[in-house]
Symmetry: C2
Subunit: 266 residues, 2 copies
DNA sequence: GGATTCTTTCCACTGAGTGAGAAATAACCA
DNA sequence: TGGTTATTTCTCACTCAGTGGAAAGAATCC
């Protein structure tokens, strides 16, 4: 049961959308009602309206996020402008390494995965496009975190930090030392901090002054993680992406910050 | 100016979302108002509400599709269930060919691109994830079209067909003959019918009885298109994807049609 | 086959949304 | 720079779209 009596109608639409998550990708009316706190009758009607607008899909008595909504979502800057431009670089990384390739931005204090390539040669990970993982237990997350300002970091460390595995570091002191190393060397690493057996290496992607907009990383079995080999590839990809973004935006007569403001502002 | 006086509030939210498209990925309040037909004041307020719910992002006076909306959209079956499962197979295709890899479903009489891989080795195409192209001028489109029932085809041919290049075929007779060949050989081809200089080859992906749910295809420069070499790769990928989907769904105790109903119903 | 649970429809009430207009900015131009 | 125009933001009385409790209709279960 979530906050029911939220004012505007728009809020209710959003409330219904947020009732869906990775583990609940299809819901019935009554599930929808109990998860949102809306009366059943109301949930039923709004869901029906949403189906008519393709915001939800319906199949029998189960509702799920609509294909139409997905389609519109692809017009967001993260996908239309950012992911599309980064893709060729990510594919080159995949070809060269065969490992999981991750591209994430910082959003609401977490790493939001804008793209992820996994092939048959790659180890399983729990990330997915559109998924979120903590900043302090992922390669891309640390690469993003390392370059945030002190205010951000203070806020970040003021909350309790998740600890997905026994190797996850949650102690401010050692994490801060690690971030210092990331800044010095220009790349981050993790060792089984998110998933046992997996290691990751990542680098930030800068596009304007201030903190990086995104980060690219590789996740492999820990025995295959080799910074010597991988860091140069990642740095090439990151600078290629920066440059490609710059070009594409200058063509459009816009300053970078004006487009990818979200991560920078938060 | 679009249909303004649409009843429900949900319809208005959708109206605003639909005001954005590939060529208008950011809009001001007045643009929003004129493109939707809503009064400026109203557009302003609804857009504000939508920003608060992360359905839209705002930056200065420009609104765009929200990162939050994109994130929710990734929970749709096309992405969460279908694209994610198909991805490793698509990557193998890319590695083997270096060409554009396309994965599309049939939606509202068009090919809707669920995934597209383009690397530096690939020729430029106008497709993109979340984009739409006609069925009769694309490889994936023809592969989907060939297996639709007579009713669908009659309806399809009853409308005027687009003609993006001089090589596009729009004549029902020759297209029908071509579809017959697709059914016989199990793959489709196009020759500069969408973009001059490009050729494509595609195969359907079946997951249940009835028409295919999706199609995989490769687009290359026409001099590099070689059915001998490419068709077997595509067929392997398609059957791999079918199987992987079947497995993943049996695990979830669901019949295929129950999940990917959209394309089948329309 | 009766009980339970969930979906769908109904309808009188009401407050949330509406939109014309005005005020406040911002952009433009000479 | 100052005057003009375009756009964004705010306001408020009106009203109709949305509300939600309740009851009917389907499934489902034991």
């Amino acid at each position: 049961m979530a906050d029911a009596a939220t004012g505007s109608m728009v809020a209710r639409v959003a409330l219904i959308l947020r009732a869906f998550d990775e583990d609940h990708d299809s819901l019935t009316v009554s599930e929808l009602a109990s998860r949102t706190g809306l009366p059943v009758g109301t949930a039923h009607r709004i869901a029906g309206d949403m189906v008519a607008e393709r915001l939800l899909d319906r199949n029998g008595t189960r509702y799920s996020i609509g294909t139409g909504l997905w389609e519109q979502g692809e017009l967001a800057a993260v996908s239309l402008r950012f992911r599309e431009i980064a893709l060729p670089f990510l594919l080159s990384l995949y070809e060269a390494s065969g490992e999981n390739v991750h591209l994430a931005i910082l959003d609401e204090g977490e790493a939001l995965y804008a793209m992820r390539l996994v092939g048959h040669r790659s180890v399983p990970t729990i990330s997915r496009m559109g998924g979120r993982l903590p900043l302090h237990t992922t390669g891309v997350g640390k690469a993003l975190l390392a370059f945030q300002d002190e205010e951000f970091l203070r806020d970040f460390f003021s909350r309790p930090l998740e600890r997905p595995t026994v190797h996850s570091r949650v102690d401010e002191g050692s994490l801060r030392a690690e971030l210092e190393a990331v800044r010095r060397h220009g790349f981050s690493v993790t060792n089984q901090e998110m998933t046992l057996g997996n290691a990751s290496i990542a680098v930030p992607i800068f596009v304007a002054d201030g903190p990086p907009y995104a980060a690219v990383g590789l996740v492999s079995h820990l025995t295959r993680a080799d910074t010597r080999r991988v860091v140069p590839m990642l740095k090439d990809a990151a600078s290629g992406i920066s440059e490609a973004l710059g070009v594409s935006l200058d063509g459009g007569r816009r300053r970078w910050r004006d487009v990818f403001h979200t991560a920078i502002q938060r």
